[in-house]
């Protein structure tokens, strides 16, 4: 019993999604004078009420495990809302033989409410993938094209770091970094011996006040969301200035079904389901910016079929949904007896690593193409559910001996995680599942995913590196992996690192790409995609900073085209 409600109002731009890409478009476009409607599938977020900053585990009846212990699947109940691997009524499927995991966050700000805040620039060489080693494709833009926007984004959101002149990890506009934790000093010492570059990390967390936002208070809980907006989230840093212009209309609980087009192949608006009333509504706009997250955006384009675009909107190249990649992820843990004697002290710091290892083997021949960086953490962290599962598995027992052992083991582990570049392959893509719809009747995605030997060899190298660092430090490497099984060398299933990108890639050739270098659809001049979908490659740098730089650049281009009357 859907009711279709048509609004006579016409917006300049309709933006779909309020995360990193959509939030940035909303800020730049409204500040540029355009009237924008911002559609978000989830509810509003209220940080002072929704964020569990500084809450002790014992202040929650479920102690962080969530109802029935089920929140452990989604990084615990203290995580900022509403991220989940599975959303009731909104399924996705994996093709036989594929296991793809899709983390979605339906709320204003999307995944930026809880993300890791790791803000790394892609390097000049990352834009020339094919020229470099014959694999994948070059980008239609260069590092020099994007660098001014990296500068702007970093200056606006606030990123700490240090100038290091590492070719694989370009320097940016940085706030001072926090002091290293004890565990980080130990790792750095071992890395120096091994010739592994270990430098202050680059996170979107304020060590000084920026635009009136307070500096970090070092509670170590960025993933819970920050009531003082001392770290970056779209909901707290991009949406408020857009609102302030008076030109943004935000519509929450809006699940977009379809982008509408006319016979001249121009987008005219979108059709969406108002979840609260279960009615179908329409927004008319002179331009549409899609930023629903890479796979959700591909789904929307593929579901927007018409006589002009029978295989999906802006899909004359048949590449929407293709070239899907995630980061290569493999992790391991070391136990360090010297930490048993570490005196109690506040080890929290910012909500993330203070140091990391950028890709350091770019100057030699490796067994695999491209590279990875290493993140690490551990030590005397806030205790939480599952903290002693490993100890119990290894040493078993019970009673006073268990209690003594926990006192000794606490704070003595350091975990390492590699994040590497996957090469797009023809067996990895998403498409519409012809047999399954969600609760709104919208056809869902079916994922195909396959790691190649390139990625497996990278995971192998990660494991060997973790072991050498741990052993150089005098620790015991606890993780056991092998070439056998579903996940060789501990490689995570596709999607698990939550860096899925590439599903509407940009390119110089309209036959092999969806967008041009300004994130504008080749086929539809007034349609832009500004999330992870445009990325041509997925270097070992977390994509969020690049998504924001691309979105800022695309939005300025859109403003310019609007001024010229080209939309």
């Amino acid at each position: 019993m859907f009711q279709v409600i048509r609004s006579p109002r016409q917006y300049d731009v309709c933006i779909i999604g309020s995360g990193a890409g959509g939030g940035m478009a909303a800020k730049v476009l409204t500040e540029g004078g355009l009237n924008c409607a911002l559609l978000e599938a989830g509810p509003e977020v209220h940080p002072e009420k929704d964020f569990k900053m500084l809450m002790w585990p014992y202040e929650a009846p479920h102690r962080g495990a969530g109802v029935g212990g089920r929140a452990r699947e989604n990084f615990g109940e203290f995580l900022a809302p509403n991220g989940a691997w599975h959303i009731e009524g909104e399924p996705y499927t994996s093709a036989p033989g594929s296991d793809f995991q899709w983390f979605r966050s339906r709320i204003v700000g999307g995944r930026t409410n809880h993300w890791g805040r790791i803000a790394l620039r892609f390097a000049p060489v990352d834009f020339k993938s094919k020229t470099r080693d014959g694999l994948g494709d070059d980008w239609p833009i260069t590092y020099e094209d994007l660098a001014p926007y990296y500068d702007k984004v970093e200056s606006y959101i606030g990123v700490f770091g240090t100038k290091e002149n590492v070719p694989s990890a370009p320097d940016g506009v940085f706030l001072p970094p926090p002091k290293p934790r004890c565990t980080e000093l130990m790792v750095k010492k071992a890395c120096d011996k091994l010739g592994i570059t270990c430098i202050p990390s680059r996170l979107a967390i304020l060590t000084k006040s920026v635009n009136g936002r307070l500096p970090c208070h070092y509670c170590g809980q960025c993933g819970r969301g920050c009531i003082t907006a001392s770290n970056f989230s779209s909901s707290q840093v991009l949406i408020p200035p857009a609102m302030k212009t008076g030109k943004l209309t935000m519509i929450t609980g809006a699940m977009v079904r379809e982008i509408l087009v006319d016979k001249e192949a121009k987008a005219t608006g979108v059709s969406y389901i108002d979840k609260a009333t279960r009615s179908e509504k329409r927004i008319n706009a002179r331009a549409v910016v899609v930023a629903a997250s890479a796979c959700e955006s591909a789904r929307l384009l593929l579901n927007s079929t018409s006589s002009v675009f029978p295989t999906g909107l802006a899909n004359s190249s048949d590449t929407v949904g293709k070239y899907l990649t995630d980061s290569v992820g493999s992790s391991g843990t070391g136990y360090f007896p010297q930490l048993e004697k570490m005196p109690s002290h506040n080890h929290d710091g910012v909500g993330g690593m203070h140091m990391y290892m950028p890709w350091w083997k770019f100057d030699r021949k490796n067994d695999f193409p491209r590279g990875y960086h290493i993140e690490f953490g551990g030590g005397r962290e806030l205790p939480g559910v599952g903290m002693f599962n490993g100890m119990n598995r290894d040493e078993e027992g019970y009673g006073l001996s268990l209690k003594q052992r926990a006192r000794k083991h606490y704070g003595c582990h350091i975990g390492f995680a590699g994040r590497g570049e996957m090469i797009p392959n023809p067996d990895t893509y998403c498409e519409i599942d012809p047999d399954v719809v969600d609760q709104w009747g919208i056809p869902v995605l079916r994922f195909h995913f396959k790691w190649s030997d390139y990625e497996l060899l990278q995971a192998k190298d990660m494991q060997e590196t973790f072991r050498s660092i741990v052993e150089t430090m005098g620790g015991e490497y606890k993780t056991k992996t092998s070439i056998h099984g579903d996940l060789p060398f501990g490689i995570e299933p596709g999607g698990k690192i939550i860096h899925e990108v590439g599903t509407a890639r940009m390119g110089a050739d309209p036959k092999t790409s969806v967008l041009n270098g300004f994130c504008q659809a080749h086929d539809v001049k007034n349609l832009f995609v500004t999330d992870g979908a445009p990325l041509v490659s997925n270097p070992d740098k977390n994509p969020t900073l690049t998504i924001m730089a691309l979105s800022w650049r695309a939005s300025e281009y859109l403003l310019d085209e609007a001024r010229k009357g080209n939309l």
Partner: protein, 197 residues
């Protein structure tokens, strides 16, 4: 010190984001600290009183309490799993999860069955020595390898041990026991104290 005369509503309004855009205004650090304290105090308030199990029967719950107490007992330094509320935590989660109900409910049945077979009485009526004898068996995987009839008990105990640790080490007692310092608001992160040799 934070100014107590600033009302929580005033500060939350200043901190609030969304439609107001007020996050871009400067707010005094004292106000932010004050909010941290208030939020902390509000969240710390928890109801007291005796506990009525949500899932387990009275006798099962008594077994759960006895087992938690043996897994992490109190000692000279601090309380144990029972004082830390681990049985309530386990009961709550179990009431919400059918898999936990089968695993823990089934495990308690197994334990009573084993005690009756070997000592002629249910677990709770066994002597402390007998209880210890059973736990010494089911607390180690190697015993199930030698005697496969123990495997269900070993699997149950491993699960309960993890849940007991979860309950204990997320409690105020358990967190203090580990010597964790933090979850607070600092102006500067002090870095690493001198490392011990």
């Amino acid at each position: 010190m934070p100014n107590e005369s600033i009302s929580r509503r005033d500060i939350l309004r200043t901190l609030a984001v969304g439609v107001t855009g007020s996050v871009l205004q400067v707010i005094p650090a004292e106000a932010a600290e004050y909010v941290h304290q208030i939020v902390h105090k509000e969240k710390a308030a928890s109801p007291a009183g005796t506990y009525t199990p949500k899932y387990f029967s009275a006798s099962q719950y008594a077994m759960l309490v006895a087992l938690c107490d043996m897994i992490i007992p109190k000692d000279a330094k601090c309380g144990g799993a029972v004082e830390a509320g681990a049985p309530e935590f386990i009961d709550l989660l179990t009431s919400e999860n059918e898999k936990f109900q089968l695993r823990l409910g089934g495990g308690l049945f197994w334990l009573d069955g084993y005690s009756t077979d070997h000592y002629g009485k249910v677990f709770l009526e066994c002597t402390p020595e007998q209880k210890k004898e059973v736990l010494d068996l089911i607390a180690f995987r190697k015993n199930a390898k030698q005697d496969p009839s123990l495997s269900q008990g070993v699997s149950f105990f491993a699960f309960l041990r993890n849940m007991t640790c979860d309950g204990y080490y997320t409690s105020k007692i358990g967190i203090t026991d580990l010597g964790y310092i933090g979850n607070t608001s600092l102006r500067e992160f002090p870095g690493c104290p001198p490392l011990p040799e």
